[in-house]
Subunit: 343 residues, 2 copies
Amino acid sequence: MTSQITLSLDAMGGDHGPSVVVPAALQALERHPHLHLVLVGQEETLREHLQAGNQGDSGRLSIRHCTQVVAMDEPPSHALRSKKDSSMRVALEMVKTGEADGSVSAGNTGALMATARYLLKTLPGIDRPAIMSTIPTLGGATHMLDLGANVDCTGEHLFQFGVMGAVAAEAVHGLERPRVGLLNIGEEEIKGNEQVKHAAELLLESEEIHYAGYIEGDGIYKGEADVVVCDGFVGNVALKTSEGVATLISEYMRMEFRRNLLSKIAGVVALPVLRALRRRIDPRQYNGASLLGLRGVALKSHGSADSFAFGRAIDTAVREAEQGVPDLINARIERLLGAKEGA
Amino acid sequence: MTSQITLSLDAMGGDHGPSVVVPAALQALERHPHLHLVLVGQEETLREHLQAGNQGDSGRLSIRHCTQVVAMDEPPSHALRSKKDSSMRVALEMVKTGEADGSVSAGNTGALMATARYLLKTLPGIDRPAIMSTIPTLGGATHMLDLGANVDCTGEHLFQFGVMGAVAAEAVHGLERPRVGLLNIGEEEIKGNEQVKHAAELLLESEEIHYAGYIEGDGIYKGEADVVVCDGFVGNVALKTSEGVATLISEYMRMEFRRNLLSKIAGVVALPVLRALRRRIDPRQYNGASLLGLRGVALKSHGSADSFAFGRAIDTAVREAEQGVPDLINARIERLLGAKEGA
């Protein structure tokens, strides 16, 4: 794909604002020769950050001034009502008007989802947008959704998540007929709740979906499915729990290697290996959650992302925009609804 | 505590049956001088295993013959209906009749919970029994429930789990006023579902409980609460996901240390440290989930447990029986109901 892609970046969002977004933008322009970026935020601040850094190919970088910033702990309803000139909102408005092909923000998830939903609207046939992220597995990676946008989901919602996830995994990650699994628990008779059982029926019926059946929590990391579907409560708990375990093990490792002189020497000898290990489990690689089900590309970067991590979110937004993921989801859903009516 | 404790062991349950349970029993008798154990299962098979091993202080070990075994994949309803002389059931019946002070089984969770509930009955004031396990944290350990017995829970159920978890953490693990946290997700406005919010109100109101507020998935491993309460679907996913992450990281570690000659040498040098690390994250240490809310002590060992791990479940059963956890839960619930009526 060599067509020009323009992304709007919420340059004020996240814990670090422009000090992360500006360098991430400059680096992304070097990686993607057909990319144009618009930094949305307070112009003066952004100019200062640009002057501090290497301005790079400034012909592909512009600034859209706005006066407000959505705080990281700001309630979504408040952001929607009284932050009409926020960097988050203006960046999303550019997607709505077609000035940008997609948007990336490290701002607070609730406000971002609410604003994106309000401005971009949900695709026809999709009841609720969902948040999808990439998760490392033994053999590669899987894609999990929803990660927190919807706490209570019907079977129909879960089914739609499966469709959206499959389309995105195909388009962005080049998977053919990705295996869609439903996250469930393993106990006989108490196997799953009604919603999951209903979603399983819908996924089984649909020929458009390569349904891989139920998978359990440990199956996510074994790579038993390419797309893992769950409600936002379960998905968010699973994701945060995973982070917690990884942090705990890293901390234990640090403690053990610092225990005494011998273990410290072992730590020095093992340093290249430990660094390689750290790179493998580095969550920054997987930064960038897709807001799927909207009439536009919107990516959420982790609030604490550094410029490397923010860049990963930009990369995903580029791919989603190049492939036209919202249109692909729309087409798939239309086909599914057509098949249903035809049946 | 020096009073005699008798436990009945489902000697045929789990993936390995008597080849794990018999040695675990013999070792437990050595650790606990006041413990009596009853091996429940096919007498001839058990005698063979006892002869193969060191019989130890056989005065404190006896056999209760029975003819059936519940299969690991057997539906609970089938086990209840047609396995009335199973090792799992007979072991639980001994708790019911008072012949044993508690029971341990590595048999299938669904069948064990259903049989325990049917035979032992739920304590008054408790709507649903729950499964609790100990989880390692940065500073020590926490106790999490429910881990899979109840897929749909009301706020009232979650509140009762909090009470049961607090009592068990106090009695068995010696914690004073354990901090009870509710597992939740962090997004503003979409913060939690109705059940969790209702449970939060009930826990806040109750002076009996040291309520620590909401905690997120990563907070479990940071040790933000001593008791973590959630519904069985979420708890089971969180637990299995944690296992998945730990396995993934171990596997990555193995791969990195085997990459080339230099990394292999580093692995040899770091071996004592890596072994210490493995001990720290060894799930066998935490084996043994408590079935709480029943009129008797019942422990579930992991189906694949080895004799060390099964022994940990026996140790927990000993402590629960010594402390009389079911009576303590009963007393606490009565006090709470009394306080409510008095209010």
